[in-house]
């Protein structure tokens, strides 16, 4: 199930609120677990079994780690963590990468791995990472193992962030799982956050998306320079508003149920370097890789050569995490190169540049990155790059003029919405004005989003590959 449908908002979520709040505190995790499973099983009921397996296996491993540690058996604890990591990675590998590898091997004439054609369980990349963090945190002593399997199951399946993040570490949530505070203030702030997220997804991302779809489908022979840049700009906005909108909705829904999740985006398009971009974009993923992969490899506190190797591993993994396809790996490696170059010498110089110039530099890299990310077919990607750099079908044509004019107002709104301008203005308003404007904006966001959802001609879910 995804958030941006009338079914979710007006039936499922109403039912969630109703059942959740009429249940006594003690039983709320159980109710939530059941509702989570319905949420997950809605699209593909059989895959609920993965949820049960995930809960059962990670629960047991957590207990094992604790028991071994209590007995002073560090070796045993280590084995248990390793086994849990292997299980989670195997799950991810089997469903997400099997066919990709099988296809690649076929290309070399090797046929020992048959293609399975299984559909990718929604959100698998997000929740396998979350459950992996659990046993590791328990082993490191950052979290206590969860003895109550219902509570643990609620963590694994928690619907607001199950399918599109933020990726939540167990240690950030364990207290909240057992004692969370439900207040009207929290609920109201959740309402605001959810509405912002819904509007971002439905009113901005869905409005800009077709512009990118159009340019992705434009044959290379008709792709102009302006068109290619316009297309990738549209994709950049679509992905940002879609993804950060989902995170906002998750945070908002979480608050309405008493949870507090960490932030996932911080105006990434304001960045002045690739390094900064990754501190602002999909923060929970970057932080996960840093904590559970980069640091264990030694991080930056090693010799330069080893550090570069560590970065290579992390960025290759980050890339391929986004989808089982070569372009995602390439995209990760692109950022590896950018970040190494910045880390070794460029960053010092960039920081001396005037702000607008470093801003252009960063956005240029980000747009190049999104081109690699968004055009899956490598041949097509090459053609697209050619068009971007003036080797396409001319500079501009009448179709491009039309699309530019048609999407200009929404693009301007998107630019403004990518900056904290609205937020700053909001805080400058006097308190009384804010109190009047807030409900008006909320209703406007909810009503217009509903209108666009009911018409519903264009409403994609972008993370089926994640």
């Amino acid at each position: 199930m995804v958030f941006s449908t009338p079914y979710f908002l007006f039936l499922y979520f109403c039912a969630v609120l109703l059942f959740y709040y009429i249940t006594p505190l003690k039983l709320r995790n159980l109710v939530l677990l059941i509702l989570n499973l319905i949420f997950y099983g809605w699209g593909e009921p059989v895959y609920i079994l993965i949820m049960f397996a995930s809960i059962g296996i990670d629960y047991t491993h957590g207990m094992l780690v604790t028991r071994c540690k209590a007995k002073g058996n560090l070796r045993g604890a280590k084995m248990a963590v390793a086994s849990s990591v292997i299980f989670n990675l195997a799950l991810l590998f089997f469903f997400k990468y099997w066919d990709f590898i099988a296809g690649t091997l076929e290309g070399f004439g090797l046929h020992f791995m048959p293609k399975l054609g299984l559909s990718l369980p929604i959100g698998i990349s997000f929740y396998t990472f979350q459950t992996m963090s659990y046993t590791i945190d328990v082993y490191r002593g950052d979290a206590r193992s969860q003895k109550n399997i219902i509570t643990f199951g609620t963590f694994v399946t928690l619907f607001p962030q199950l399918i599109a993040g933020p990726i939540i570490k167990y240690k950030d949530l364990d207290d909240q799982l057992e004692h969370r505070v439900h207040t009207v203030d929290k609920f109201a702030s959740g309402v605001q956050r959810f509405t912002v997220g819904l509007s971002k997804k439905v009113l901005l991302a869905n409005a800009i998306g077709p512009l990118w779809d159009n340019y992705l489908a434009t044959p290379a022979a008709e792709l102009t320079t302006v068109g290619a840049w316009l297309g990738i700009l549209a994709f950049s906005f679509q992905l940002y508003f879609d993804f950060s909108g989902y995170s906002d909705m998750a945070i908002g829904l979480g608050r309405m149920l008493g949870f507090e999740f960490l932030e996932n985006f911080n105006y990434p398009y304001l960045s002045k370097s690739a390094t900064e971009f990754w501190r602002r974009w999909h923060i929970s993923l970057g932080s996960w890789f840093r904590e559970y992969l980069y640091f264990p490899l030694g991080g930056s506190r090693v010799k330069k050569g080893r550090m570069i190797f560590n970065l290579l591993v992390v960025w290759a993994a980050t890339g391929i995490w986004h989808g089982a396809s070569w372009n995602f790996l390439l995209w990760g490696l692109f950022y590896f190169v950018c970040l190494v170059v910045e880390k070794l010498f460029l960053l010092k110089h960039i920081q001396k540049l005037p702000g607008w110039l470093s801003h252009i530099y960063a956005l240029f890299l980000v747009l190049i990155g999104w081109t690699i990310f968004a055009v899956e077919d490598l041949g097509h990607m090459g053609e697209y790059f050619k068009a971007m750099f003036g080797m396409g079908a001319g500079f501009i044509n009448s179709d491009t003029v039309y699309y530019l004019m048609n999407y200009l107002p929404i693009l301007i709104i998107a630019v403004v919405a990518s900056t904290p301008l609205a937020k700053n203005l909001w805080h400058k308003l006097p308190e009384t004005a804010r109190k009047v404007v807030l409900p008006v904006c909320l209703m406007l966001g909810l009503v217009m989003s509903t209108a666009y959802l009911v018409d519903g001609t264009y409403n994609p879910f972008l993370y089926f590959r994640f």
Binding site: D185, A188, A207, I413, V447, D455
Partner: protein, 401 residues
């Protein structure tokens, strides 16, 4: 403390506001789902009804052979759930108003189109997007015309072929600047070039006029059809063709066409509908035989009952059917028109001139055209298709049988 309290009250207000919105519409939705709407007049389509839950039966053999384990079910395949979501969206309370609100939102954003429909610059004309077929596809399709021409040579029957320009060609000045998906006339030129064993009639310059098409529908009006009739008669080289007497008579001023239906632009006023040739012709000599179920029945030229429903264009000859014959005892010659829906409002004019006009619909008619032509003494065959239908109709290949 007091401040805290008032904050709490305010947040309670926000909470209640949100809950009233989602629960209010949620409950209204449930009530509506219990008594769902069948057909959307505005969208001119059947709405999704409640899907029937089917678990299916376990099928081990199928499973081992790579098919679904739950044979005949719709639950484990996820089909039930996706149908259910569509059911919810389709039956959402005030659906038509929501769709119009979305169209309004797109308008506020200065969008020049919504749901594949361009807004004309005059603020009241709608254009469905149009795409030319590929060169290869066009070659194939015109090839069918040429094959038909060859096939009918031994019967001594000439084949004429003509495309009706898309509204976006004739009213190009009303389109948004640089709009990409429009009829530029390129297909007309290419088709003219490629037609070798049939005679190509060019209608692309015949339809100029501010009343040739409906503003809210893709079809031509009776006035447009008359201009096409005049041009066809000229290209047939018929001297002094028969003329309808009098002026067009308005029969409805509340026609919302299919283009309007797909874009929800509630602020666009409806079209007027006219008839020009009176029922039975000016001298009462025209009769119409329809074959809606395959058997001949006498039908009126204009089915005025259709003016009471959404799809008012079906008034002309009663809408789509495999075959329809108009006979005029005063006319001369027998013409067969391979039709699409544009021909229905043209046929009354053709019936003024010809003794028999046979409207042949490839979509519903699988008989041999050649056999029919010979059996009925047809003298001319005209393939008349709108540019858009000619690019997309998969039944054209039947002409070569």
């Amino acid at each position: 403390m007091k401040d805290n309290n008032s904050n709490k009250k305010y947040n309670l207000f926000i909470t209640v506001l949100f809950c009233v919105f989602i629960f209010g519409f949620g409950i209204a939705l449930l009530i509506h789902m219990a008594n769902p709407t069948d057909f959307s007049e505005q969208e001119n389509r059947y709405l999704q009804q409640a899907p029937k839950f089917k678990l299916g039966t376990p099928d081990w053999k199928g499973f081992t052979e790579g098919r679904d384990f739950w044979k005949g079910g719709n639950f484990f395949s996820g089909e039930f759930m996706s149908d259910f979501e569509e059911f919810v969206t389709d039956q959402f309370p005030l659906r038509d108003e929501w769709i119009q609100l979305k169209a309004l939102g797109e308008r506020v954003l200065q969008k020049k189109e919504n749901n594949g429909v361009y807004y004309g610059t005059d603020g009241k004309t709608l254009f469905a997007k149009y795409t030319d077929p590929s060169d290869e596809e066009l070659r194939k399709r015109v090839g069918y015309m040429n094959t038909l021409g060859v096939n009918l040579i031994d019967a001594g029957v000439p084949v004429f072929f003509s495309l009706v320009p898309d509204k976006s060609y004739v009213w190009a000045d009303l389109l948004p600047d640089n709009a990409p998906n429009v009829d530029t006339g390129a297909m007309n030129e290419a088709a003219k070039e490629l037609t070798s064993n049939a005679y190509y009639f060019d209608l692309y310059n015949a339809l100029d006029g501010a009343d040739s098409y409906y503003r809210t529908d893709h079809h031509w009006t009776v006035m447009g059809a008359k201009r096409a009739y005049d041009s066809l008669m000229e290209q047939f080289m018929i001297p002094n063709p028969a003329e309808p007497e009098g002026e067009p008579q308005m029969v409805s001023d509340a026609f919302y066409g299919t283009t309007w239906s797909s874009c929800g632009a509630g602020w666009i006023p409806p079209d007027e509908m006219h008839i020009w040739v009176p029922e039975g012709g000016p001298h009462g000599t025209i009769s119409v035989t329809g074959y809606p179920e395959g058997k001949p029945i006498e039908t009126p030229m204009y089915n005025l009952d259709k003016l009471q429903v959404k799809d008012k264009y079906a008034m002309y000859l009663g809408g789509n059917q495999p075959l329809c014959v108009l006979r005029n005892s005063e006319g001369r010659g027998k013409l067969l028109v391979v039709r699409d829906s544009y021909s229905d409002s043209l046929a009354p004019f053709l019936a003024l001139q010809f003794q028999e006009v046979h409207l042949w619909d490839l979509r519903y008619n699988n008989m041999s055209l050649k056999q029919y032509v010979q059996d009925n003494g047809i003298q001319y065959v005209l393939v008349l298709y709108s540019a858009s239908n000619f690019s997309t109709d998969i039944n054209l290949s039947k002409l070569t049988r």
